[in-house]
């Protein structure tokens, strides 16, 4: 066994690092570093730069315009991006709907949508969850009724991340109410500009507008916008969820957060000494360090197992549980390290363009991020649900 990266992989890391240093616009880097919300234009500017470099679709095969990286390269790329304070690529098009279209879509759908994703022409959002269907996703109620060569869609989606910027929605709908729960579901691609669609913001407890409700009222969707067969939506959905969970450990982010925490806690003084020397605090940082070391190797083990293609199975549930817990713990320790300086809340700075003095700006996002990171154990299948998956599929309980 050998846990070191090969010379080629190290050279790749150096190449990515150089690119990030040259290409990432300073204002965007600063917004990410300070934990300020990115505007639609910030996302697009960065994604256009990645697209021009051919690195936007990190997990696509070359035949569709991807860079042809393996899991190790993708891992290195993610890690370097987080370290450089690059924005996370909005995943719904590139990483979620695209693999589904590649796997289940018609040649026409592939020719139409994939290039548009690659060039950032379309901004996709994910319409899975509903008010009554969260953990029990298959309990969804949004109805699609066939009328000639259209579906008429009625219902409500919720928690739609960045739906306010999106022009396309991939959506699970019930086409057959009489079939078994999972069997009656189909996968539709819906133009957000269609008459009958209303998007309403949901403000989260950190004051951010990140998620939305999407109402569908007699929305007409051409039948050719269905991916796969009617009733095959659940297969698409499950396939997509495994892709949603690759890179789910958020290792790059965790590493960056731990680096930041250590630097912060050695600069902040507690009774004349660095906070990092305070035993109760130090011990928690040490434990986070250990958890991260273990997670990194576990992640590499999963990566190595999938190197020759194929999405990871239930192991990704383990990565998600531990990764989210670790990132939450790091956000907790960062907030805590700041002491009273974590109290002031500047929403107009964090979520808007209001200026703020430098001292406050440096610590402004810690508490808001702590609360925002609670989502990591809720979305993409809550941790309780992930544990049930592990119990069932790995432990066969």
């Amino acid at each position: 066994m050998n846990l070191t990266f090969s010379p080629e992989e190290q050279a790749f890391r150096a190449q990515v690092r150089r690119f990030l240093a040259d290409a990432l616009p300073g204002d965007i880097r600063e917004r990410v570093r300070l934990g300020r919300h990115l505007r639609a234009d910030d996302h697009l500017r960065w994604q256009n730069i990645l697209s021009a470099q051919g690195w936007l679709a990190a997990n696509w095969p070359t035949e569709h315009g991807g860079p042809g990286w393996g899991p190790v390269e993708r891992h290195i790329f993610d890690e370097e991006c987080a370290a450089a304070h690059a924005p996370t690529v909005v995943p719904f098009g590139v990483n979620m709907v695209a693999p589904v279209i590649m796997k289940f879509g018609s040649p026409e759908q592939q020719q139409h949508y994939l290039p548009r994703i690659l060039s950032n022409q379309d901004w996709w959002c994910q319409g899975y969850s509903e008010p009554g269907a969260g953990s029990d996703l298959a309990g969804l109620n949004t109805r699609a009724v066939r009328e000639g060569d259209h579906y008429i869609v009625n219902g409500q989606k919720t928690w739609t991340t960045l739906g306010q910027h999106a022009n396309m929605l991939f959506c699970l709908v019930r086409t057959n109410p009489d079939a078994k729960k999972q069997a009656g579901i189909s996968f539709l691609l819906i133009d957000m500009q269609s008459p009958g669609i209303t998007v309403r913001p949901i403000i989260t407890l950190d004051g951010a507008h990140e998620v939305n409700e999407v109402f569908l009222d007699n929305v007409r969707v051409p039948v050719e916008n269905r991916v796969g067969e009617e009733g095959q939506g659940w297969t698409c959905a499950k396939f997509l969820l495994t892709h949603e969970r690759t890179g789910i450990a958020g290792l790059g982010h965790a590493k960056q957060a731990l680096r930041h925490l250590k630097s912060l806690a050695s600069r902040i003084e507690h009774r004349g000494k660095p906070l990092l020397a305070l035993p109760s605090f130090r011990l928690r940082v040490v434990k986070a360090e250990l958890e991260l070391m273990a997670l990194e190797v576990t992640n590499l083990r999963v990566i190595a197992a999938t190197r020759d293609g194929g999405a990871p199975g239930a192991e990704s549930s383990l990565l998600k549980v531990r990764g989210s817990e670790l990132r939450q713990e790091l956000s907790e320790l960062t907030r805590r390290a700041l002491g009273p300086a974590a109290l002031p809340f500047f929403p107009d700075f964090l979520h808007g363009d209001a200026p703020l003095d430098d001292a406050n700006a440096q610590s402004a996002s810690a508490s808001a991020q702590y609360f925002n990171r609670r989502k990591l154990s809720i979305y993409g299948g809550a941790n309780e649900i992930q544990k049930s998956i592990v119990a069932k599929t790995i432990l066969e309980m």
Partner: protein, 372 residues
């Protein structure tokens, strides 16, 4: 040993619980938070009429002589409703410091109107980079003849905007810690106002060569009084957190019974039942610690501070556990501004950032750990 409340205390609890339920619904609370800060609110005037503003002060200074248990009852009820009134920051802490340090002229000028609800005050003890250490003070006060000149900066002063005056600690030439009262609007003061993460009105206070007459000096050696008052504040905050924990647990339990997934109420899933029990355990253990803290206020300082540090550290950890689980068990709902439990969660997490967090207080306990 007696855990029972007196008849008066039970009445106080009932009255206050009813008042909070009637006047601080989530919608009313939002409106109160959005209202301008200066004038005493209707609710504050009701507090005055009910004697709540007199309660925590000794009869010697015109108070009702309430004890730690009375304070606990009040704080717990306010915590349950997340009542946006600065009962601790604007009344108890500055008032108690005045009671301990001010002469009779100063008391008539500042303390009497405070107890009548005519004005509120603020206590500026915390400084940038000092974390929770009330004695790492670099604000300076220098005496020139009969005048004092103060320069420095105080951070995260609660109730700053509404306060008629600020009690400010400053290092004197003697090396001792002095205490001054600065009326709002005194030349040389500047305020940077904001809300805290849990919606409390606060701000930073900068003192740029502020000149004060000698009658505004409350004490030239405030250390002991400050320690007493911070202990009182910590005990009060523990009780406040208990109220908020109770409500967060109740709301979560109700949600688990109401919300269905997979055709069943969430409350039927054993993983969630056990989690809910853990929340309940944290609450009950913290309740015990808060009782310990509030009934320790009249003990000798060393013993009192040991117990209160233990309680504050314990409640800090529990408050966070309960907050995190309350959000988690509400799923996406728990992440929203619209969901009431999210506001309890914010208050419970930020509890640790007021008057010293768990690490700070664990260190105190650890330094004095009794091995007998």
């Amino acid at each position: 040993m007696d855990f029972a409340l007196t008849d008066e205390q039970r009445m106080l609890e009932e009255t206050l619980t009813r008042l909070v339920a009637d006047q601080v619904s989530p919608t009313q609370r939002r409106a109160m938070l959005d209202a301008p800060r200066q004038a005493p609110s209707t609710l504050w005037r009701t507090f005055a009429e009910l004697g709540l503003l007199h309660m925590p002060f000794s009869e010697a200074v015109g108070g009702l002589g309430g004890d730690g248990t009375d304070l606990m009852i009040i704080m717990q009820a306010l915590g349950r409703g997340l009542v946006p009134e600065a009962y601790v920051a604007g009344l108890v802490l500055p008032g108690q410091l005045l009671a301990l340090t001010a002469n009779s002229v100063q008391q008539t000028r500042w303390l009497a109107p405070l107890l009548e609800g005519e004005h509120q005050l603020a206590l500026a003890w915390q400084e940038h980079g000092a974390r929770y250490d009330a004695f790492a003070v670099s604000t300076q006060a220098i005496k020139h003849n009969v005048q004092w000149r103060l320069t420095g900066r105080k951070d995260v002063v609660l109730n700053l905007e509404a306060a008629a005056a600020y009690l400010v600690t400053a290092r004197l030439e003697s090396g001792k810690l002095g205490l001054f009262i600065l009326p709002a609007g005194t030349p040389g003061l500047s305020l940077h106002l904001y809300r805290t993460m849990d919606d409390q009105a606060a701000g930073d206070l900068t003192l740029d060569d502020v000149t004060l007459p000698d009658e505004n000096c409350l004490s030239e050696d405030v250390s002991e009084a400050l320690i007493d008052v911070l202990a009182l504040g910590r005990a009060a905050l523990c009780a406040d957190a208990i109220g908020a924990m109770e409500e967060a647990c109740d709301q979560t339990l109700a949600y688990l019974k109401d919300r269905k997934q997979f055709g069943l109420p969430l409350a039927t899933f054993q993983a969630l039942q056990h989690r809910m029990v853990d929340m309940h355990l944290h609450l009950e253990q913290s309740r015990s610690m808060a009782i310990l803290a509030c009934t320790s206020l009249s003990l000798p300082a060393d013993e009192r501070d040991y117990k209160i540090a233990a309680a504050k550290a314990y409640c800090g950890e529990s408050a966070r556990f309960i907050a995190e689980q309350a959000i988690q068990l509400h799923g996406g709902m728990g992440m929203t501004e619209e969901c009431h439990v999210a506001h309890y969660a914010k208050h419970l997490v930020m509890f640790d950032h007021y008057l010293g967090d768990s690490d700070y207080h664990l260190e105190t306990v650890s330094d004095q750990l009794s091995v007998a």
